[in-house]
Amino acid sequence: MSDAATVHDANPTGFAHQFEDLEQQRDAGRLGMWVFLATEILFFGGLFAAYTIYRSLHPQAFLIGSHLLEVKFGAINTVVLICSSFTMAMAIRSAQTGRKKGTIISWLILTMLLGATFLFLKFRFEWYHDYVDHIMPGFGFHNMPQWGANAPQVQMFMCFYFFMTGLHALHMIVGIGILTTLCIMAARGKFTKHYFAPLEISGLYWHFVDIVWIFLFPLLYLIRY
């Protein structure tokens, strides 16, 4: 999180001393978050690159692997995240238009609940079932006879599934933590019509995590042919 997000208790405007004015601070905070998101694009991107290579080398195995996943959970989770992006945007907007702190907190809590729903669906209904069905690599993975010679690469696909969605889930957990902090700040009345930079910057992070899922969903779940 950028330093601009830190609020000095003695300083109600949340102004940080290294800046000349609030405008510079907000610009810097926003640019800082975008630069951080650029690093995240390359970080997840490395996994997407590896995925691309292996999918082009083993299309059949990836097809088999994708059928092991349930599209309905992927689709529901996509919808859940899109809703959470909407509620996050509304949270920022409510601060921007000077609404009461209760409104801001409500939108934030809604976003957090949607995020938690996503994680619950993923871990309880997808990952746990994969573990029980012995298709979680490294945790008792069993090759199924119908995979034939593709078996090792099916395991490869499942590796990518768990690594990519796992990394994504980690980012969601961090995001929920950030939102909790924002709720506390909002409850203390830190956000005004003019100062809501932490909300805006966290929103950028949250939307980015949503975008990663927007790409994960078709690449992992929707290989049907």
């Binding site: 000349e20 810097a28 630069v35 390359l42 080398l57 195995a61």
Partner: protein, 550 residues
């Protein structure tokens, strides 16, 4: 303080002890919880010095072992761990952070007229992350190290090696985040916090170099992080991402590894070039020749550096066609570097040159970097690389650039800005002597390695054919001279902290905002935000140096 103090004062220095960033607050907590970019730069300096010593010890043991063809000191398995430790520690934990995290952190806000970087708390966090990574790496070294080479090629590193690859990869993974935070901070600081009047084209060239470096930090480091992440997962879960038997591709690891590691070498050299630009102009007392060419060449190097990584994989099984493309692009990347060398040389022409220690390091850099860079062209060319890859030619090539280039620039920069950082002057005679010892020791160590490589001696081997012994002994002898050369500055620099003459604001009479403020600077750098009205390096309006010029 009495004006008849036993410590000399340089002309221009005030007799009164001033408040500055060093004495503003005392105590361990004031250092460990500091938000001051200058103190954070010094914290980094301490940490990278420790890592340099560790890497240097590994190198010493290697060169001692290579005194005899059958290995004079260690078993081959141990030798493998030594060169791996040397490479990992020197690359990831010394060279990559060196100039950016020390001189960069210290100087960037001063040079652009700001009070601090954009995100001081992230800055401190980056140091803690780095220190954690260093501790983890030192633990790995202490418990036996890894034997995979700093390149961690799979499937050996992922499947076969019995050393602690998992923790070593984790140390690099964690250290990567330190680089990312630093890069983020610098990009935002340079974009958003320049003083009034400090337009992009009035910036010191060190800032342009640091900006280009920060772009590389931001775009390349996440890829090594995810590569190490995959390696860690493979070690942990034994799942075969890079195992050919399971359909994995070892070359994919190499692609992802070198996508970072090639730009990483430009992370190491770009800041050095920025330092050299500052040193050359200051000690020629002349405006730099071709300012915009040097500025744009830094950006060009940053961009092109991402397009050439395959030249590390010419003999790995990469497709010949990909090799062709990478080869052509690798020739291209030499052009902006050459542009810089020409511009520095042109700056020297008809300049008022003096030979203080920083200038000796700068001149040495230009010569040694040119040799290192030209030998890179042999390696960029597919046909010659087939013979030279995996030999000591490569080792010599990159040491000419990393040691003859980057480390010399670090030394030159440390000496140049030492009065600003500490408020003290060091004894210049000893400094020049050390610079000469380093230059001689360096060439004695590494020039024979070009010959060895050309004659076919492989790298990373604990033993070698007897006919190579003479050159190896020469190289090891040179290494001992080089080691002495590095120890001497440690002594006189530490001595200067207590007993060196007190420096004024601008001992060298150099241009640049950092020289307009006191030495050492205030915590908030400037009493008033400076307003910039002139171009960079305008030596016509430069003050006279406070120290005698020779």
């Amino acid at each position: 303080m009495s004006t008849t103090a036993t410590i000399d004062q340089a002309p221009g220095a005030s007799a009164e002890p001033q408040i500055n960033y060093l004495n503003a607050r005392y105590g361990v907590k004031s250092w460990l919880l500091t938000l001051d970019h200058k103190r954070i730069g010094l914290l980094y300096l301490g940490t990278i010095t420790v890592m340099f010593i560790v890497g240097g010890i590994a190198a010493t043991l290697m060169r001692l072992n290579l005194l005899e063809p059958q290995g004079a000191l260690v078993e081959p398995e141990t030798y493998n761990k030594l060169f791996s430790t040397h490479g990992i520690v020197m690359v990831f934990f010394f060279l990559v952070p060196s100039i950016p995290a020390t001189l960069g952190n210290f100087l960037i806000p001063l040079m652009i007229g700001a009070r601090d970087v954009a995100f001081p708390k992230l800055n401190l966090l980056s140091w803690y992350v780095f220190a954690t990574a260093c501790c983890l790496m030192l633990y790995v070294v202490a418990t036996g190290g890894v034997d995979t080479g700093w390149t961690f090629y799979t499937p050996y590193s992922s499947l076969s090696s019995h050393t602690d690859v998992f923790l070593a990869a984790m140390a690099i993974f964690i250290g990567g985040f330190s680089s990312i935070l630093t890069g983020m901070n610098f990009v935002v600081t340079i974009h958003k916090m320049r003083a009034p009047g400090m337009t992009w084209f009035r910036l010191p060239l060190f800032i342009w170099a640091m900006y280009a470096t920060s772009v590389i930090f931001v775009l390349a480091t996440p890829v090594i992080a995810v590569t190490m992440f995959l390696l860690m997962l493979e070690r942990l879960l034994h799942v075969g991402i890079f195992d050919p038997a399971l359909g994995g591709d070892p070359l994919l690891f190499q692609h992802m590894f070198w996508f970072y590691s090639h730009p990483a070498v430009y992370i190491m050299i770009l800041p050095s070039m920025g330092v050299i630009s500052e040193l050359i102009t200051a000690f020629s007392r002349k405006k730099i020749f071709g300012y915009s060419f040097i500025a744009f060449s830094s950006l060009a190097i940053a961009v092109i550096s991402f397009l050439v990584w395959g030249h590390h994989m010419f003999v790995s099984g990469q497709s010949v066609y990909a090799g062709l493309v990478f080869s052509v692009l690798s020739f291209l990347v030499a052009i902006p570097s050459a542009v810089k060398v020409f511009n520095w040389t042109a700056t020297l022409y008809k300049g008022s040159i003096s030979y203080e220690a920083p200038m000796l390091y700068a001149l040495g850099f230009i010569g040694l970097f040119t040799i290192g860079g030209l030998t890179g062209l042999f390696l960029a060319s597919l046909a010659t690389d087939v013979h030279l890859n995996g030999t000591y030619f490569i080792v010599a090539h990159f040491h000419y650039i990393m040691v003859g280039g980057a480390v010399m620039a670090l030394m030159g920069g440390l000496h140049f800005w030492w009065p600003k950082i500490t408020g003290r002057l060091y004894p210049d005679l000893w400094a020049r002597f050390a610079a000469l010892v380093i230059f001689i020791g360096f060439n004695l160590t590494f020039f024979p390695q070009f010959v060895l490589g050309y004659l076919g001696m492989p790298r990373r081997y604990a033993m070698y054919p007897a006919e190579f012994q003479a050159l190896n002994v020469l190289s090891s002898a040179g290494a001992s001279v080089l080691a002495v050369g590095y120890i001497i500055p440690v002594i006189y620099l530490i001595w200067s902290l207590r007993s060196g003459p007190i420096a004024g604001p601008n001992p060298w009479g150099a241009k640049g905002l950092e020289w307009t403020t006191q030495s050492p600077p205030l915590t908030e750098n400037f009493e008033k935000t400076p307003i910039v009205t002139e171009e960079a390096y305008n030596y016509e309006t430069a003050p006279a140096p406070e120290v005698a010029r020779v």
